[in-house]
């Protein structure tokens, strides 16, 4: 664990001391090295149980896929940011890279934390670099509002979480993950216990996001620069899912009754945000609402609390992370050429950029959960576990799948097929860098078809 964490910390030093001409190459190589080393976390000799590194950091089959995703994403973010940062002064480029690296350090510490308070502190710590990336390097005036919404929605949810964790700590004595399974809070039917249950979950539901508290997400994803959108969609939303999975252990048996409205809200959110996607004119906004839709399914899967639900949620989180990040990169290729996010402004691109159309095709197929991709595996496992709980959820989830397919196809057809608009007179050919970026996103996704056991978690 420290083999990865200490090099990541020293990457900060490298950022500031590299010669400027070699900055991006050095950082890229360094982060790829760290990402390759992090793949060792996927090799777990036993299926359950923790791998202790020291008292404060550990990983298990639940956190290791997310850790690998985090480490894998940093080189991808570096590749994606190279173009739009090229004209900035030297120190600002170094600052931007430092923010990305510090985000990775906090995320590694969050996913490998063995104690809930450490997880909480790192969960909150990821807010600061993300806020600075969105508000400082976003491109439109609305980015300030986006940063405020992002910070305050997340904090309003997580401050009650802090109090709830401290309540649990004062009555049970320990918040270490290792002992959580044996210390569920003794449940009397007081109203206060229900409030405590709510306080524990609200932070993660806001982060995921659940449909009613999702307003920060379209703003933050749209206004962020490409690296910000990538890390938000791929990893930061999964912090919410991961935290929810960890804390579910102590929330029994209240969850059996209290989770009803949230499961239904999540499923309704899948349909509502999917429908909104069909009416979007802004490409990034479409992908952002698609993220809300997928994460609604994840939230429902976690709240169901069955082994298939958890497994499906984890697989969907990993697959959605890669897919959503790939879609944001594709949207960014459009943005860098036309400096606009409006979909209809850059249509029929298959004629102009045929190789990019391949990536659009694969990413759209992944988004609509085509078999045999892991997206489908996650969705089917969640839908099955929901069906097992109640037959009627099939209406909602089936409709959700249909709408997801519709808007993914809509997005693909609108951007790639059809006639080229007359005003497009100069579009740069695709850079090799962009092809590399998308290949690195989609190749792990395709490889996961062969061995999904790597991302199953400890329940299946």
């Amino acid at each position: 664990m420290l083999k990865i964490l200490i090099p990541s910390m020293f990457m900060l030093l490298t950022t500031w001391t590299s010669p400027f001409k070699q900055l991006w190459s050095t950082i890229l190589m360094y982060s790829f090295l760290v990402a390759t080393l992090s793949l060792t976390w996927l090799a777990m000799p036993t299926d359950t149980g923790w791998f202790y590194i020291n008292n404060y950091m550990a990983y298990d089959p639940l956190s290791s896929p997310l850790l690998v995703l985090t480490c894998w994403l940093l080189p991808l973010m570096i590749i994606a940011s190279q173009n739009h940062l090229a004209e900035e002064p030297e120190n600002r480029q170094r600052t931007y890279i430092s923010l990305l690296i510090s985000l990775q350090i906090f995320l590694i510490l969050a996913f490998s934390a063995t104690e809930m308070i450490m997880f909480y502190v790192m969960f909150e710590a990821t807010l600061i670099p993300t806020l600075i990336i969105i508000t400082r390097w976003g491109n439109q005036m609305e980015r300030l509002n986006a940063g405020t919404y992002f910070l305050f929605y997340t904090l309003a949810g997580s401050l009650p979480l802090l109090v709830a964790l401290l309540i649990y700590h004062s009555s049970m004595g320990s918040l270490s993950y290792l002992s959580l399974t044996s210390l569920p809070l003794t449940c009397s039917n007081l109203y206060a216990n229900k409030l405590w249950w709510m306080a524990c979950l609200l932070a993660f539901l806001v982060k995921m996001p659940l449909y009613g508290v999702h307003l920060w997400l379209p703003k933050a994803h749209v206004e962020a620069p490409i690296a910000g959108s990538m890390v938000l969609a791929a990893v930061l939303l999964k912090l919410g899912g991961y935290g929810m999975m960890r804390i579910m252990i102590i929330l029994d048996p209240l969850t059996k009754e209290l989770s009803y409205p949230f499961i239904i809200l999540a499923l309704w959110g899948v349909i509502m945000t999917g429908s909104i996607c069909l009416r979007q004119t802004d490409l990034k906004s479409l992908i952002a609402y698609s993220s809300v839709s997928h994460m609604g399914l994840v939230a429902a899967g976690i709240l169901i609390q069955t082994p298939w639900g958890f497994t499906g949620a984890l697989i969907l989180m990993i697959a959605h992370g890669l897919t959503s990040s790939a879609l944001f990169c594709l949207a960014n290729t459009n943005y860098e050429r036309t400096h606009s996010r409006t979909i209809i402004l850059a249509r029929g691109l298959q004629m102009v950029l045929p190789l990019m159309a391949t990536w659009w095709f694969l990413a759209s197929l992944a988004n609509l959960a085509l078999p045999p991709l892991p997206n489908l595996m996650g969705e089917i496992m969640i839908i099955t576990s929901l069906f097992n709980w109640s037959f009627y959820t099939l209406i909602l989830t089936g409709l959700g799948t249909l709408i997801t397919a519709s808007y993914s196809l809509y997005m693909f057809l609108l951007t790639q097929r059809g006639p080229i608009p007359h005003h497009l007179i100069l579009l740069e050919p695709s850079h090799t860098r962009e092809h590399l970026l998308l290949a690195l996103h989609l190749l792990p996704l395709l490889l996961l078809i062969a061995k999904p056991e790597l991302v199953w978690g400890w329940t299946a």
Binding site: M122, L127, L144, T148, V163, L166
Partner: protein, 348 residues
């Protein structure tokens, strides 16, 4: 100001606070507070600007009222219990009256109305002294009396955090923002006073460090409104890049050191079964965070349009003393991992 006069006044301020620290007799404590107040008054109106004189008079009147209430309470205590010792106040009337008097002295809600106006009339250095040094003596007294009225302190604390948050939302004058920030932080300190007094001291010292950084940053930029901060990115880029962290630390965001007092206070409150109060106090901190965020947007996270000669000024070595700023900024950002050491240090 004449350096001799300045020396005498600063020494007198130090003397007053030290007398209060060292005293166990109420009259001596009161005397120290009065010396402190009288010594800072010439410092406050040294510029002879009508605004400064108005601030000085408001400060004098409120502090004199508070000191008179304090004297009255201590005499009542002496009459009832027959002794003048600070620590042995056992009747609720004198204790409550002392608490309210000290609340007026430091500017807790609902006795906070003088604070923004007084701070607005002062220059930044004197404002810094008012926000930091002047709070030491009253807190010393608050820590020593045994407060008998649980709910009074909790009401003062919660009201202060809410007033400090809401009051600062509509301000664009930096000194008023700093006043409301001071009120909010004092509220947090009072919340935990009766349960774990060391945390009050910890919060006070952390607040001193953070607000020192902020005051000196504003002084280096010579700015008193939010709009005038927007030019600082070209003149002092490194200070500008550190300011969001100072402000977010004041707002209590992990992993910065400002999170430490809030975390420990929330922990203590939940141990005392005051969880709803803890939640309310935590959420009221979000109000203050909004205006801290606004300042950091204006200063660092947006770059206002600049003519070329402003954007590329000569960065000459500064004549200001920025070493204390560097030290307190580092402490404001990096102190959270040392929490166990700091608690041990302060619980001795």
């Amino acid at each position: 100001m004449n350096p001799y006069i300045l020396t005498i006044l600063l020494f007198a301020m130090g003397l007053g606070t030290t007398i209060t620290f060292a005293s166990s007799h109420w009259l001596l404590a009161w005397m120290g507070l009065e010396i402190n107040t009288l010594a800072i008054l010439p410092l406050m109106c040294q510029s002879h600007h009508p605004r400064a004189v108005e601030a000085t008079i408001k400060y004098f009147l409120t502090q004199a009222t508070a000191a008179a209430m304090l004297l009255f309470a201590s005499i009542t205590n002496a009459w009832i219990t027959g002794q003048w010792n600070l620590e042995f106040m056992s009747y609720s009337l004198p204790t409550t009256l002392v608490t309210v008097a000290l609340a007026l002295k430091i500017g807790l809600a609902p006795l906070h109305a003088w604070m923004p106006e007084v701070l607005q009339g002062l220059d930044l250095t004197t404002g810094l002294i008012l926000s930091t040094w002047q709070k030491l003596a009253p807190f010393c007294l608050l820590l020593q009396i045994n407060p008998s009225n649980t709910s009074l302190l909790l009401i003062l604390g919660l009201a202060s955090t809410l007033v400090g948050g809401w009051g600062g939302l509509n301000q664009n004058q930096l000194r008023k923002i700093l006043a409301y920030s001071s009120i909010a932080h004092l509220g947090w300190m009072i919340l935990v006073l009766q349960f774990f007094p060391s945390l009050t001291l910890l919060t006070l010292l952390m607040y001193f460090v953070m607000t020192f950084s902020l005051f000196i940053t504003f002084k280096v930029n010579n700015s008193t409104t939010i709009n005038s901060l927007s030019m600082s990115w070209s003149k002092a880029p490194i200070i500008s890049s550190m300011v969001p962290f100072i402000l977010l630390s004041l707002g209590g965001l992990p992993p910065l050191s400002g999170f430490m007092p809030k975390w420990l206070i929330l922990q203590e409150l939940t141990k005392q079964s005051l969880a709803p109060l803890a939640t309310l106090a935590a959420l009221s901190a979000l109000l203050s965070l909004y205006f801290y965020l606004r300042i950091s947007y204006a200063m660092t996270l947006t770059m206002s349009p600049n003519i070329l000669s402003n954007a590329l000024p000569w960065r000459l070595p500064s004549n200001q003393h920025t070493l204390p700023l560097a030290i307190t900024t580092s402490l404001t950002i990096c102190l959270l991992p040392l929490t166990p050491a700091i608690i041990t240090l302060l619980t001795l």
